[in-house]
Symmetry: C2
Subunit: 222 residues, 2 copies
DNA sequence: GATGATTTGTACGTATGTATA
DNA sequence: ATATACATACGTACAAATCAT
């Protein structure tokens, strides 16, 4: 079950470096440098770069190479908007087609997250949060939509790392999750859509405030 | 503004061959053969194949090459389901954010299509239909969602070629479009969503009947 | 089941186009 | 503005794995 080709393994490694913040947005990905760093030739590096470009995590311009995707605030708005729509769609589908077992497991996870909120372990909450949303993706029972949702989440990950640092964000997030869970358990598709849409819109707001408060110098690479 | 790199041009050419039915679903894409056919080396062919694989139009398996994506009926159902959701989302967004000019242009196209229905030119209707839906994608004012919708449409194109051959499908399609246009003009987001969702569900039904009625032998290539 | 043919994956060299001085 | 340097895109060669006999 291991990744089969070198290019795929490389794509994973590079993606990790991006998501962990090791390669910041705007960082230029030099083919030769990456080939050296990972001890392979440039060919699989090129293929890995193309693979990642297809997910939108990095940009490639002909004859000008690849760099970690940077986003203007307008593009970020589009991405967050798309994510809100797709996550809401997943919630709608989940409300319609989750099995009783899946509903129970979702409820159980939500309940478990209450304890994490109280303990104020924000990294743990962030991890559990991903699991929570993933359960809803899977509960939608549509692999295409679920993959797109996952792809959007990965693409936004570099810009969301600090989202739960905002004071009180975890507890508000948990309350919003509660509305989503309630609607899904009740098989109320349109309520699930609305609740998730609002949740994701508030995530965007929370990010927006963070964004406005900082002026990190970007474009370290190149 | 021309396509910059050979790989991109090749990807377009290959995609055309797939969408036109020249390369049918299941057809095996031999790297060397394609390189010869287009008079280039294998390297850009490989890149073009990876490009198309990222859209889902073709499948690549490590060490086993690429072939035009074939789909089981279960996968087709998933694809059609995803398309219905995303198109409905586009309609919802369009109802909320189309400019007055875009609304007028949409209405104009819809009106123009009435004449095509009467003349019974099904190829012309199919072309106008794509334009109609594209206008709604663009009217959603969210490039990410619009691109995904377009990608799904291209991916399903090989399986939809004959959709308007069903007797009376064009006129029913036009009526359904009417409901979508009316809702969008009225800025009624949830009505637009519902109307488009129903339209796309009926498209799927129409395809399903066609599919059931034929037993083409597939897998010509290899 | 083993062997040979074909094809993919990888490595490396070369040339063109971009960016710098 | 011209020229130089450098990274990317493409071509070619080899190795490894699949398939066909």
């Amino acid at each position: 079950m291991e990744a089969a080709t070198q290019a795929e393994r490389l794509a994973d490694s590079i993606a990790d470096s991006v998501l962990s913040g090791d390669f910041p947005p705007g960082f230029h990905l030099d083919e030769t440098a990456l080939a050296e760093r990972f001890g392979v030739s440039r060919t699989p590096v090129r293929e890995a770069i193309r693979l990642l470009a297809s997910t939108g995590l990095i940009d490639v311009k002909p004859r000008r190479g690849a760099s970690v995707a940077t986003a203007t605030s307008a593009q970020l708005e589009t991405l967050f908007g798309a994510m809100a729509e797709i996550e809401a769609t997943c919630a709608r589908l989940a409300a319609m087609s989750m099995t009783p077992i899946e509903r129970r497991r979702l409820q159980a996870r939500h309940d478990a997250m209450a304890a994490i909120v109280l303990s104020d372990e924000r990294d743990a909450y962030a991890a559990a949060n991903i699991e929570f949303h993933t359960q809803i993706y899977l509960g939608a029972h549509n692999e295409i939509v679920a993959n797109f949702a996952g792809s959007l989440r990965r693409r936004l990950a570099p810009f969301r790392r600090a989202q739960f640092r905002t004071e009180g964000r975890t507890s508000r997030s948990h309350v919003e999750h509660g509305a989503v869970v309630k609607a899904i358990i009740a098989c109320d598709a349109s309520a699930a859509h609305a609740a998730m849409f609002q949740h994701m819109s508030l995530v965007e707001d929370s990010f927006g405030r963070l964004e406005a408060a900082r002026e990190r110098k970007s474009g370290q690479g190149h």
